[in-house]
């Protein structure tokens, strides 16, 4: 089954890179709506399997945790191009997350659920 990925509001070039990478990995990247709707509306409307958020946007960690709790079956990934790290909320983990290095391989593994479950730092929901 093809993984449907919703990419949040990143810079256009970084977003294009994310989309290129995920499409190559066999995912279906949902089209950008140009910021017309907020991420919650888009999740409700498009029912993605994975949501990728920009960790550099203020409040994104709270948003990622909230999405993970509200949509238990969705993998939420908050990644930062500046800090080269990402926080992953796997599906059905009640808001638990782990932080790992942001690399193409790690991102694809987290998105497709194919990676080893190496948790560098497991954080319980707050």
């Amino acid at each position: 089954m093809v993984t449907r990925v919703l990419i949040g509001d990143f810079g256009a070039i970084f977003r294009a890179g994310l989309a290129d990478l995920l499409v190559e990995a066999g995912c279906h990247v949902l089209p950008d709506d140009g910021g017309r709707r907020d991420i919650l509306e888009r999740v409700v409307a498009s029912r993605p399997g994975v949501v990728v958020l920009d960790l550099d946007t203020p409040g994104s960690e709270d948003l990622a945790r909230s999405l993970s709790m509200a949509f238990p079956g969705v993998t939420v990934i908050a990644c930062s191009s500046a800090a080269v790290r990402m926080r992953v909320y796997p599906p059905f983990h009640s808001g638990e997350s782990y932080v790992t290095h942001l690399s193409p391989d790690q991102l694809v593994q987290a998105s497709t659920g194919t990676g080893p479950q190496a948790k560098e730092r497991r954080c319980p929901p707050t």
């Binding site: 810079g11 256009a12 070039i13 294009a16 990478l21 191009s81 500046a82 193409p104």
Partner: protein, 181 residues
């Protein structure tokens, strides 16, 4: 005349993919080489491309027109220094701007992206400025972006201070004038 041959040297693989996918969309451009960094062998050998898109974190650069995508260090760079033909902000760069800069560099046009010389303007400030320009009230911006009204006011105050603008309207006009939004 064939396509403009472009090389992309960028340490962030995801950003590099984005650059390449945007350039590939343009029929006048052909990406002939891409790598994490540029390592000339030999150091003064001829390059097989017309323009290189590079990041400001590289240690060495090819001797051809350069289009540089910069992060927070952009203010230290000036277009016109040597073979630097364009300085673009990584955060705000749009695909069309990138393609235009590469095409321009190939024919000797030098471009300075206004956002690249204002590294203090983060994405949050630009979002708020865009919404103000669209006529949104503080409450609407707060609701839309999910930040408190106090945070939004703080962002606006920072922008006004940076522009030495007395009013929000003047700050928005200044942002438009500098092509930040």
């Amino acid at each position: 005349m064939g396509p403009i041959r472009v090389a992309v040297f960028e340490g962030d693989e995801i950003f590099r993919r984005g650059v390449v996918s945007c350039l590939d969309e343009d029929p006048l451009l052909e990406v002939v080489e891409q790598a994490l960094s540029w390592g000339p062998v030999p150091a003064d050998g001829p390059v097989a491309f017309d323009v290189a898109v590079v990041s400001d974190t590289l240690r060495a650069f090819p001797a051809c027109p350069l289009v540089m995508c910069v992060g927070a260090n952009g203010a230290a760079l000036e277009v016109g220094q040597g073979n630097l033909y364009a300085v673009l902000s990584r955060r705000t760069l749009a695909p069309d701007q990138l393609v235009s800069a590469v095409r321009g560099a190939a024919v000797g046009l030098r471009i300075m992206d206004a956002a690249a010389v204002h590294p203090d303007f983060d994405q949050r400030s630009l979002q708020v400025l865009r919404m103000l320009a669209d006529g949104a009230a503080i409450r609407e911006i707060s609701s839309s972006l999910g930040w408190s009204e106090r945070t939004i006011k703080g962002v606006i105050a920072d922008v006004q201070r940076e522009f030495q603008a007395r009013t929000r309207t003047q700050a928005v006009v200044e942002a438009l004038r500098r092509q930040l939004i």
